[in-house]
């Protein structure tokens, strides 16, 4: 039987991690970990013999806190917790994503941090958090470090997490009070579906002109990406005109793949459509506000 630890404090967890002879399997909600085991079992791959470090009992990680200039989302926060939280409007995209991950059972157990650490190209949490300029807080016995989400996720299933570190929280800087946000997910069926493409946006348009647009696209590259060219092009544009600004060239930096869910060309094109629709949808409340 493999060792299984379920520490109650972060200090304990970090000490266990530092003392571990080999990197343990970090376990949060298990919604990525256990399916991977089922896949391995089906083809008789060697069972995972790593010790388990279960993070779910660590005190103080399950809350979302307002810290003045930012919100702190703890590693224990589940999709359901996020989905049902009362948060400012710039979280609307992230919360919408939370309501579209898997089904209710997965939302009840799966964590946002687990989603990021698992680093799937189709992780629904990544585009909204990129659009929020979120930072990941990593802790280890050597100390705490903070990485922008872009610097944290390195590639398909690769992150900057060191062997003796845990991801403990996400820090989301506040946007201006009138910021609006949204998320669009395209999947082949209604529930329990991995995204073909998803897009997220946070718009700030005080005075009827877009002052800051933050947009990200997922499932169209190894890691979801922000769209700096499009963001720049949107600056100064009236929200109602924003959708027309989106051009395929703005997405030139993406490199979607073709797979069982869709062709590469389709993904590239659908991303443009989803961005336009999202911007058009977000323009409606902005227009009222202006």
């Amino acid at each position: 039987m493999t060792a299984y630890h379920r520490p109650g404090t972060l200090a304990e967890a970090l000490a266990l991690l530092a003392a571990a002879p080999a990197p343990p399997l970090l376990l949060a909600g298990g919604t990525d970990v256990y399916p991977a085991r089922a896949g391995a079992a089906a083809w008789g791959r060697a069972p995972d013999a790593r010790a388990v470090l279960d993070l779910s009992a660590i005190a103080g990680l399950a809350s979302i806190e307002d810290r003045g200039d930012h919100h702190r989302i703890g590693a224990g926060v589940t999709w359901a917790g996020l989905r049902d939280a009362a948060l400012p409007a710039w979280f609307d995209g992230l919360r919408a994503a939370a309501g579209k991950v898997g089904g209710a059972q997965v939302q009840n157990r799966g964590t946002l941090l687990g989603n990021l650490c698992n680093a799937s190209p189709a992780a629904d949490g990544v585009p909204p958090l990129l659009a929020l300029d979120a930072t990941v807080e990593l802790a280890g016995v050597r100390g705490v470090r903070r990485l922008s989400l872009g610097a944290f996720i390195l590639g398909n299933r690769r992150t900057a997490l060191a062997a003796d570190e845990l991801a403990v929280a996400l820090l989301v800087p506040k946007a201006s009070a009138e910021a609006v946000a949204g998320f669009e997910k395209l999947g082949a069926r209604a529930y329990l579906v991995i995204s073909i493409v998803m897009v997220a946006a946070v718009l700030e348009a005080p005075g009827g002109r877009i002052a800051r647009a933050r947009l990200a696209v997922g499932a169209c590259s190894e890691v979801a990406q922000r769209l700096p060219a499009l963001e720049a092009a949107l600056e100064g544009v009236a929200p109602a005109e924003a959708a027309q600004v989106v051009q395929p060239a703005h997405l030139a930096g993406l490199a979607p793949i073709g797979d069982v869910r869709a062709t590469a060309d389709y993904r590239q094109e659908a991303a443009v459509v989803l961005l336009r629709r999202l911007l058009a949808r977000l323009a409606a409340p902005l227009r009222v506000a202006a």
Partner: protein, 892 residues
């Protein structure tokens, strides 16, 4: 842990899945396992009031928590009400998803006792059901509150069973978790069997010395190989084609083929990595599709079929070339469909034990008597030495007509003289089991200036995979059905089943007919347009009518309700089209459309004997027993046959005890396939019931109208007590009359046909290629609906599978081998369904009934494609119509 209100201590590794703890350590097997990956939701339980997939929760995380499982529902008033609602609404078919559905619904009902449909969909979105099409589940959850103090179900009175919306006779255990499926029970000392499967589509292999493996894993009892099979190392559907080995003898022909099996203590066999086995592979080039297999010089998969053509089915009547040359309008096209997985939520499972010189196999199956023959064959023992006891079956749809665990566990139990059990993982179930045949079809048809069909030409190449399985049946059934249910004076069809290194294609609801219907119905739309006729009226014009001859030369004298189906749809067709036109006039990126498609389906085997025998007995002490060997895989035969036999005898259904499908205790009812149980076994049940009634009347010297009753074990005839000295029995046997088809497909292949027409209303997103289904209207001629609720359940479930075939499902070996990547419809993907039941009685059937199982699925995909065509003009030729394919079609 608090389980269903009781504190339970469990000694198990902290990382053990909660589902496993509940099932194995606590014996709460009502919680099901369908995938162990969060994809199916069958394991859904409440943990501290929240629905969770028990397969994803480590025991450590449930420690100190409160768990509610299906077994705990009855003690809660809301839980009991929900269970009653499920029974009354027919929300459970096979019942395998039911515990998960109930628990997911409980989470919602606790906060929203009278939920709206949308809220139900969100709450149940994470539980898959392959049988019901979800609509009755939604109804049941919405109505649960009204069952809070509802009285217990009232069963129909004597003589009133046929036609009643009676709750399933086998329903209670499906809602309380007591039902025993293949993985739910086995002797405590049973060994665990785990097959080793080929990761290669085509390869030779040698298995070296296993001694080191045994040394490393003391719990490993035996590595079973081809050399251990005592009888014939081969199985297959046809008596003369036993081409699939139980354990491959050095050559595997598809990814998923069985190399050998590990048998031993469960923990030991699960700890063994395949890489530890001394297998040396020589990978061979694989024939990936029929094109490669038919290419000149292609290597033969089996020596027996040098050109890789397993069978060719033909149909020829009249002079097609002349007819098409003289046609006013001709339409043609080419279509391609993919592999479709049955995706029953219950993976294959069972156990076997040797009892002296007999073997007993308990397994989830659709065909106990075929299992019996296979097991006898592979063990090399007489059939009388085999007993098959079907467990409850968590869905089959044709996939559990082929043996899976049965020969392996039988060999293991026989050789080792120990009980042996096996449960396939989802991945291996998907990799190893049979599939719907992918088809490549080209077809051409013509009509005269008035729109009357004059000729039809069809060429179908069906990828039958690595082994024969049901391939010959598919190739036989397709040409006979290829013209669709229309008058067709001149026709030429050919369907070939071609062997490839793909998973074996077998039987899947419709046996190849759904694929053909996609081609056929597309042509009618095109011809209707060319002739300037409404698409529905074109079908009315050409529909078969009573007394017409089919293209196989069969005159169908009775029960041809297709025109009635179309006429019943006509008002809805007009309304829905007007709605779509209004929506389209408003402009926008969504284009709305309505489609129509018809189908016919021959009930029972194609031109072959397929008898069924039913028996009903009445013992002197008044015990009335219905011996029914037909397996109910969720479709409802246990209930329907009971309703038939009850009215035939003239006693209420509540008086009957049931003895179900155990080959030692019941007679052969034939397999549960080809939509035959209601028709064939139903007629046998009718005869059995009438025979018993005759015996009773004779004994009582009473007239045919006499009223029977059983009161406290006493038989009353017209109120007069009749003492029986000896048991009375009624046996009924029925074999539908058919005439085998000749080389040109001429004959009377089926005794009766089901007919149907469906409408699909939908909207296509012209920028994304996504399709939103708004409504399906289904009109089915079922002869007589013995139980309308169950008939609707079959129709709705068939439609859901048709939606999957049309829009979602494509099995790709090595790529979509789980329910994460292989997408079947969820509760949010099946729209509102309107059912219209047409009853044009079939004189051969029980009370006029014929079958419904398969017919429901056939017209759905073509109706959806017809609607896409109507909305956008796009021609769907590559199935499933994934968004990128729809978009492509929109642009060509």
């Amino acid at each position: 842990m608090l389980v269903n209100g009781t504190a339970r201590d469990v000694a198990a590794a902290p990382e053990t899945r909660l589902s496993l703890v509940l099932r194995d350590a606590l014996g709460l097997v009502g919680t099901k396992s369908g995938c162990d990956a969060g994809d199916c939701g069958a394991c859904t339980v409440l943990l501290d009031g929240k629905q969770v997939c028990a397969c994803l929760v480590p025991l450590a995380q449930a420690e100190g928590g409160a768990v509610l499982t299906v077994e705990g529902l009855a003690a809660l008033s809301l839980g009991a009400a929900l269970q009653r609602a499920f029974l009354a609404h027919g929300a459970a078919q096979c019942g395998f998803c039911t515990p998960g559905m109930l628990l997911a619904a409980m989470e919602l009902l606790a906060v929203e006792p009278r939920p709206a449909v949308a809220a139900v969909e969100v709450a149940l979105g994470g539980v898959l059901c392959r049988c019901t099409g979800y609509r009755k589940i939604i109804d049941a959850v919405c109505a649960a509150h009204s069952f809070l103090d509802a009285p217990a179900v009232v069963l129909p009175a004597a003589g009133a069973a046929v036609g009643a919306r009676m709750p399933r006779a086998d329903g209670q255990p499906k809602v309380d978790g007591a039902e025993v499926y293949g993985a739910d029970a086995a002797p405590a000392d049973a060994l665990w069997l785990r097959p080793v499967r080929s990761p290669h589509a085509h390869a030779r292999f040698t298995l070296g010395d296993c001694a080191p493996l045994y040394a490393r894993h003391p719990g490993l009892v035996r590595v079973l190989t081809a050399a251990d099979v005592p009888g014939r190392n081969g199985f297959g559907i046809y008596p003369d084609i036993k081409d699939q080995a139980v354990f491959a003898a050095g050559l595997v022909r598809y990814r998923g083929d069985t190399v050998c099996a590990l048998v031993g203590e469960r923990a030991a066999v699960e700890a063994i990595a395949v890489a530890e086995l001394p297998i040396v592979w020589e990978v061979l080039p694989a024939l990936a599709d029929p094109g490669a297999a038919l290419a000149p010089g292609a290597p033969a998969l089996h020596d027996r079929w040098p050109d890789n053509v397993l069978t060719t089915g033909r149909l020829a009547c009249g002079d097609v070339d002349a007819a098409l040359a003289g046609a006013a309008h001709v339409a043609e096209g080419a279509w391609q469909t993919g592999f479709v997985e049955h995706a029953y939520i219950e993976p294959e499972a069972g156990w076997a034990r040797r009892v002296g010189d007999r073997i007993e196999v308990h397994a989830s199956t659709q065909a106990p008597y075929m299992d019996l023959e296979e097991v006898a064959g592979v063990l090399g023992i007489p059939q009388s030495a085999v007993r098959i006891v079907p467990t409850a079956c968590g869905g089959g749809f044709g996939g559990k007509l082929d043996v899976a665990v049965q020969p392996m566990i039988a060999v293991a139990a026989w050789v080792l003289r120990r009980p042996v059990r096996a449960v396939w993982t989802r991945g291996e179930s998907m990799a190893s089991s049979t599939k719907r045949h992918p088809a490549r079809i080209t077809a051409r048809a013509g009509c005269d200036a008035a729109g009357r069909l004059v000729g039809f030409e069809f060429e179908g190449v069906y990828d039958t995979g690595a082994y024969a399985s049901w391939g010959p049946t598919v190739a036989g059934r397709v040409p006979a059905h290829s013209t669709g249910p229309y008058r067709m004076p001149h026709a030429r069809s050919r369907a070939r089943a071609v062997l490839t290194n793909n998973p074996p294609s077998g039987a899947f609801r419709g046996f190849g007919v759904p694929q053909a219907a996609i081609a056929q119905e597309a042509l009618w739309d095109k011809l209707a347009d060319a002739a300037g006729l409404d698409r529905l009226e074109f079908r009315v014009l050409n529909a078969l009518r009573r007394g017409d001859a089919t293209a196989t030369g069969q005159v169908i004298a009775h029960s041809v309700g297709l025109v009635e189906c179309l006429e019943a749809l006509r008002p809805r067709w007009r309304e829905l089209r007007a709605e779509a036109a209004r929506a389209n006039a408003r402009g926008g990126l969504l284009r709305h459309g309505v489609g129509v498609a018809c189908m016919w389906y021959g009930i029972g085997n194609t031109g072959m004997s397929n008898p069924s025998t039913m028996r009903v007995t009445l013992a002197p002490e008044g015990r009335l027993v219905f011996h029914n060997g037909a397996v109910d895989i969720g479709q409802g035969s246990t209930s329907v046959l009971l309703q038939v036999v009850a009215d035939a005898v003239g006693l209420p259904v509540a008086d009957f005890a049931l003895v179900l499908g155990d080959t030692d205790l019941t007679a052969d009812a034939g397999k549960t396939s080809a939509s035959r149980q209601t028709f064939v076994s139903g007629r046998a049940a009718l005869e059995a019931g009438l025979a018993l009634r005759d015996a009773i009347l004779l004994r009582a010297n009473a007239g045919p109208e006499a009223r029977l009753a059983l009161e406290a074990g006493r038989l009353l005839v017209d109120g007069r007590a009749i003492a029986l000295e000896a048991p009375l029995e009624g046996i009924g046997r029925f074999d539908p009359p058919t005439v085998p088809m000749d080389a040109d497909g001429q004959g009377s292949p089926y005794a009766t046909y089901g007919f149907a027409a469906q409408l699909a209303a939908l909207a296509v997103d012209t920028e994304l290629g996504t399709v939103r289904l708004d409504r399906i209207v289904a009109a089915h001629d079922v002869g007589r609906a013995i139980n309308p609720m169950l008939v609707e359940g079959q129709i709705e479930g068939g439609i859901a599978q048709g939606i999957g075939l049309a829009l979602l499902e494509e099995y790709l070996p090595g790529r979509t081998e789980n329910l994460h990547d292989y997408l079947i419809p969820t509760i949010g993907d099946v729209p509102v369904i309107e059912n219209i039941l047409i009853e044009d009685p079939e004189p051969l059937g029980p009370y006029g009934a014929k079958g419904i199982g398969e017919p429901a699925l056939v017209p759905t995909a073509p109706a959806i494609f017809s609607a896409i065509r109507d909305a956008t003009g796009a021609e769907i030729t590559r199935v499933p119509a994934l968004p990128h394919r729809v978009l492509e079609a929109l642009r060509t």
